[in-house]
Structure formats: C-alpha cells, structure tokens
C-alpha cells in the first residue's frame, strides 16, 4: 500500500510532452499510471526513446528490451540509438526527468542507491550518469528501513551515486524539495502528521508555509 501511495504521487511529476527515464524496479511501475492523453516518451538507457507496453506473447522480440532487460515494445514515434548517443541524450540535459529508487538521501540532496559495502558489488549501471545529466531528479523510496531507521539522513552512510543531485524526494510519509537553501518539506501524504515525519526523519529540514497552516 505504501508503494502505491509513493507511485501515485510520483506520477504527478510527469507532465505532458516530457521525455522521462524511469529507473529499474519500483519506478518502472509508474509507466502504467501515466495519463492516456499525455504524450510522454519514456527513455531506456540501452537505446530506446518511446518505450511501449509489454508485448503480447506473439510480439515478444529478444532484440527489443528495456534497461531492466525486460522484453518491451516500441510506441509510435519511438527511436533506437546506440549506447553512446543514449547517454549523450542524458548527459547533455535532453531528458526532462528521471525518477529513481533510493537507499539513502541526505539533507543536501546527495543520493546513495548503488551499493552496500560488504555485499556483492553489482555495479552502478547508468545511475551515476542519470543523476548528473537529467534536468530533474526525483527519488522515490520508503522513509525508513526495515529496522525503522530513517533513510532520509543528515549525510549518507552508503557510497554515493551523486552529490547534491536530488531535486525532489517522495516517500510514503512526505514530499521534500531540495535547493541551495537546503531541504524543505512541501507536502504531507494523506493522513500523515508533521510530528510523525519529524520523528522518522534524521535530516534537518525546513517546513513550507503551506504545511504550517494545515498543521
């Protein structure tokens, strides 16, 4: 249920006409929630702009996969390109928005989402390129880990994917935005109190005036 809450808030970040990269895992699920009347091009790092729905059984093509190595289709208006061009698109600031999963986010907008020391290193894939290149970085994650500890930190304890790269963080409790001034709480999820967010957040944050009024 918390996942659904996060996804429903995250899809609101997508506007008509955008080119968007959805990270592997939970962010991929947002694809199905984009309003039908929006013309949005989803990018896949392996060389596709314009990801379509999953194929019917008869349409499955091993030469057509997404960055998560899932079989997909290409929608009308799609284009294929090589990996260097794919990341030129990302690095060059041509992708409007990337929505990525996170392990930790710090109050200055650092993101850690690629490795846990002591566990097998899998690799960063395209995550480090995306956080530096896409125009806007939205991170979606649970607010606390399974031990109840805040994943929204004063500073990240895990190796970073990027420094000061997060623009917006969406959890099941709240939405934060990041700027030079720091981290600001801009929304509470439905039924969540300011006190709960404060008690479950290690990071220091300011509170948007609109929330103070409601609280």
């Amino acid at each position: 249920m918390t996942r659904q809450l996060i996804l429903e808030r995250a899809v609101k970040e997508i506007q008509d006409g955008m080119c968007v990269n959805l990270g592997i895992g939970m962010p991929t699920l947002i694809a199905n929630m984009i309003p039908n009347d929006f013309n949005v091009m989803l990018q896949s790092e392996n060389g596709l702009l314009g990801i379509g729905p999953y194929p019917k059984k008869v349409e499955v093509d091993p030469d057509l996969i997404n960055a998560g190595k899932e079989t997909v289709t290409a929608k009308a208006g799609a284009s294929f390109f090589d990996s260097a061009e794919s990341f030129a698109m990302i690095r060059g600031g041509h992708i409007d928005l990337a929505i990525l999963g996170g392990m930790e986010v710090s109050e200055n907008g650092d993101l850690a989402n690629w490795m846990i020391p002591g566990k097998m290193v899998k690799g960063m894939g395209g995550a480090m390129d995306l956080v530096q290149g896409a125009k806007r970085i939205v991170v979606i994650m649970d607010h606390v880990n399974k031990h109840g500890e805040s994943k929204v930190k004063k500073s990240c304890t895990l190796p970073l994917t990027g420094e000061k790269v997060v623009h917006c963080l969406i959890t099941e409790l709240a939405v934060f935005q990041f700027s030079e001034a720091g981290m600001e709480l801009i929304e509470l999820q439905n039924g969540i109190t300011l006190d709960e967010v404060k008690s479950k957040t290690e990071a220091d944050f300011t509170i948007s005036p609109s929330i103070e009024i409601k609280a």
């Binding site: 790092e45 060389g47 057509l64 998560g68 079989t71 690095r91 894939g125 390129d129 190796p159």
Partner: protein
C-alpha cells in the same frame, strides 16, 4: 581482400593470452554469441574483457568465466552472475566498474582518437577517486580516458561484403561504439547481403571499422526477463 570468413575459429586465431577484448551487447541482447563460444573453445586466458555486462552463469560472457579465462572485467553492471561473484570474492577476478554512459563514451572516444574527456558523471563518488578534477563554467568534472581494445567483438543484424553494418532495435546498444574501438574488429551477423544492397542512408556502422565478417546460424538470442502484457 575479402573480409568475409567462414570459420569462427580461424577468425579469432590470432587472439593470444592477455589480450584486451571489447564485447558488444546489453544483458544478453545483441551479444556476439558465436564469437564468445569460439573464444571459450580456444581457451586463451588472462583476458581483459570490456563489456557493459558479463553474461549469465551459462551464457554469453558467463561462458568465459566458467572457463576461468577472464583476468579483468571492465563493466557497468555485473549483478546477474553467481560465478562472477565467486571469482571476484576469491580474488581470481579483477573488476573495474564504470558508469554506463562513461563506458560508452570511453569506447566512443577510443574509437574516435580522443585520448580523454571530462564528465560530471561520478563526481563526488568512488568513481572519481584518483582522477583529475577540473572546473568548467562553475561545474566540476572528472577526466576519463578513452578505451581501445586489441580486438572488438560485434553482433549486427546485416552486413555487406565491405562490412557495412545494420543493427536491429535495441540489439544495437553498445555494438556501434565497440566496433570503432577495436584494433581488429570482428563482426558476426544474421544475414549477409551483397555490396550495394544496403541503402547507404541506413547503414549504422561503416565498413571502415570492420576487419572480419562472419555469418552465424541458429541464433539463440536468450531472453533474460520475459515480460508480457498478459503476465
């Protein structure tokens, strides 16, 4: 001199122990599956392999791991492979993890005669350690070096006799940049066409980059994650 060869074994004959080989593909899509098998059968060791991924346990570059032929792997994501984990943890296998876009650009640069370039990717992370940092217009970048390999293994859809190549859908992925970055580039294709049959406007890789062409039969094209609309 024709670039067309009929034997995969003779195509890789000159590869010796310790060679650096750049291999196209993303996951198991667009991998040069026949060349990898031929390299496995040849048994050369202490190889440095540059490729986005390292196959799975029993397919693609995983076959070379199984045979303990890889000394060093340069890749962006290697998480699909238990053998990889074992050999890495036991110290048999050296690994250099490179962000995917940086890897693609290092290959593009290598193939284009550019020794190094600056990118913001990896700034402030472990990737930046030991690398030159430089500021341009108020933003910090790190220097990354181009990669050139002794050999490049490429999988394309179609080739003509000159080695002009056309790829299919997302099986293109790293293959075009890999093709440019090998001192000797060996290509396997599903279909060979006569010179002049490919529309010059549609050629993805010019034959200038290609030294050898082979036609493979019965491609397996394994799928890592079969996902369908009614699943």
């Amino acid at each position: 001199m024709s670039k067309l060869l009929t034997s995969f074994d003779s195509a890789i004959q000159q590869i010796e122990d310790g060679a650096t080989i750049i291999v196209g593909g993303f996951g198991l899509s667009g991998i040069p599956e026949k060349l990898i098998i031929a390299l496995r059968d040849k048994g050369v060791k202490d190889l440095t392999i540059v490729s986005n991924n390292c196959g799975v346990d029993d397919w693609g570059l995983g076959l070379l791991l199984e045979n303990k032929q890889i000394k060093k792997m340069i890749a962006s994501y290697v998480g699909e492979n238990k053998l990889f984990e074992q050999q890495f943890l036991s110290g048999e296998l050296e690994v250099e993890l490179v962000p995917q876009g940086t890897l693609a650009e290092r290959l593009r640069a290598g193939g284009a005669g550019i020794p190094a370039f600056y990118t913001a990717t990896g700034v402030g992370t472990e990737v930046a350690k030991g690398k030159e940092h430089k500021e341009f217009d108020g933003r910090t970048y790190i220097m990354e070096k181009g990669i050139v390999g002794d050999f490049a293994f490429v999988k394309a859809w179609k080739a003509d006799h000159f080695g002009n190549l056309v790829y299919r859908k997302t099986a293109r992925n790293f293959n075009p940049v890999v093709a440019t970055a090998g001192k000797v580039t060996i290509v396997e294709v599903e279909e060979l066409v006569g010179t002049g049959e490919l529309d010059p406007d549609e050629i993805h890789t010019s034959g200038v980059y290609v030294q050898k062409v082979l036609v493979g039969k019965d491609y397996e094209k394994r799928i890592e994650r079969l996902t369908t609309a009614n699943a």
